[in-house]
Symmetry: C2
Subunit: 210 residues, 2 copies
């Protein structure tokens, strides 16, 4: 575990902190599609992503979903973090976007390390900062962009996260992430294909315009 930890966090944490993490953290893994954390769950530890990617979703009372953002190696979820410190239930759902490895750090340590390690303090602040930025971007897309632009952006983000222009995804899955209907997505995807920005195939599409 220390090895993987070093790969993902070696450049930002000092040696003692890395040792602390590998001593108290629990190594976990999740397969693509697995729910790592769900709305209403009590949160007792925070995740440090080693490998893979996680998507963070919001849901309303009627069960409508919306993708908030993706997490990658070296990220943690500031929403989880804030739930931890506030001892509240999770407001979001976390689903493995790819096969994923992460370390769970118990709440108790989070505060402790904040006083002990400057690098940890910075990490926590930077996490909050990047999550706030991502939320701002999400708000921008919702408030200022039409569905066709949101869709293209979504495909580009997803291609980036998966490090591949080819996405294994159905129209229905996209519709869930963007909180719209399958028919709307099919319509707009066809439009994007006619514009030469993507190529459509069954269960599968290719993003040209990155």
């Amino acid at each position: 575990m220390l090895q993987e930890l070093n790969n993902a966090y070696g450049f930002i944490f000092e040696k003692e902190l890395l040792e602390e993490i590998s001593k108290t953290g629990i190594l976990k893994s999740a397969r693509e599609g697995e729910i790592i954390m769900d709305i209403g769950n009590y949160i007792t530890s925070m995740p440090l992503l080693l490998e893979g990617a996680i998507k963070i979703l919001r849901e309303d009372k009627e069960g409508n979903e919306l993708l908030l953002y993706f997490l990658e190696r070296g990220d943690t979820c500031a929403l989880t973090l804030s739930c931890c410190l506030g001892q509240t239930k999770s407001e979001i759902r976390a689903v493995a976007e790819k096969d994923t490895q992460y370390i769970l750090v118990p709440i108790a340590k989070i505060e402790e390390w904040t006083t002990m390690f400057k690098s940890w303090r910075n990490f926590v602040f930077e996490s909050y900062q990047s999550r706030l930025s991502e939320m701002l971007e999400t708000i921008d897309t919702l408030a200022f962009m039409n569905m066709d632009q949101r869709l293209l952006r979504y495909l580009q983000d997803k291609a980036k996260i998966n490090q591949s222009q080819e996405l294994q995804v159905t129209h229905q899955q996209i519709a869930y992430d963007l909180n719209t209907s399958r028919v709307v997505i099919s319509r707009l995807l066809k439009k994007l294909e006619l514009e030469g920005k993507i190529l459509l195939q069954r269960n599968h599409l290719v993003v040209y315009d990155l």
Copy 2:
């Protein structure tokens, strides 16, 4: 200044911290409608709200605006905070919603106090937490609600912030905050009036349904 500081923060900060703040902070005030901080400004200090209220806005390249949330006494702006620590430009605009008093604390102190005072550390974390919550709520309204529900919610929030059911506001101003057009707002307000939830008058409306 120590007096006002005590009123707003006396219950959460220890005496030494309050003294530090009143020693290094600068007391400022803004009249209703005044822009306290604008997009692109470099941020060199963070505000602690003593009295009044501030609204936080987002803007896109075309100049479309969107209200993110309100700040009240005892709040600080976590977005500003994250800009401070990241030494980046402001991503948002802050406008005085009412006549407002606040203290500006220089960046340098923020980190310093984080190591020195537990109450400060908690305050900073809680600010991040509440700002993340507010952003989540904003996202919920954008993603899951129609304009009529967003409008009603906006009026209720504004009534709460102004501690009055009577709002001095024009349809155009509401339209700016919700990033839509005046005609749409007039239409929906009329609908709300017919439903008995509000009363319309020139430059002025009353919210019944709180």
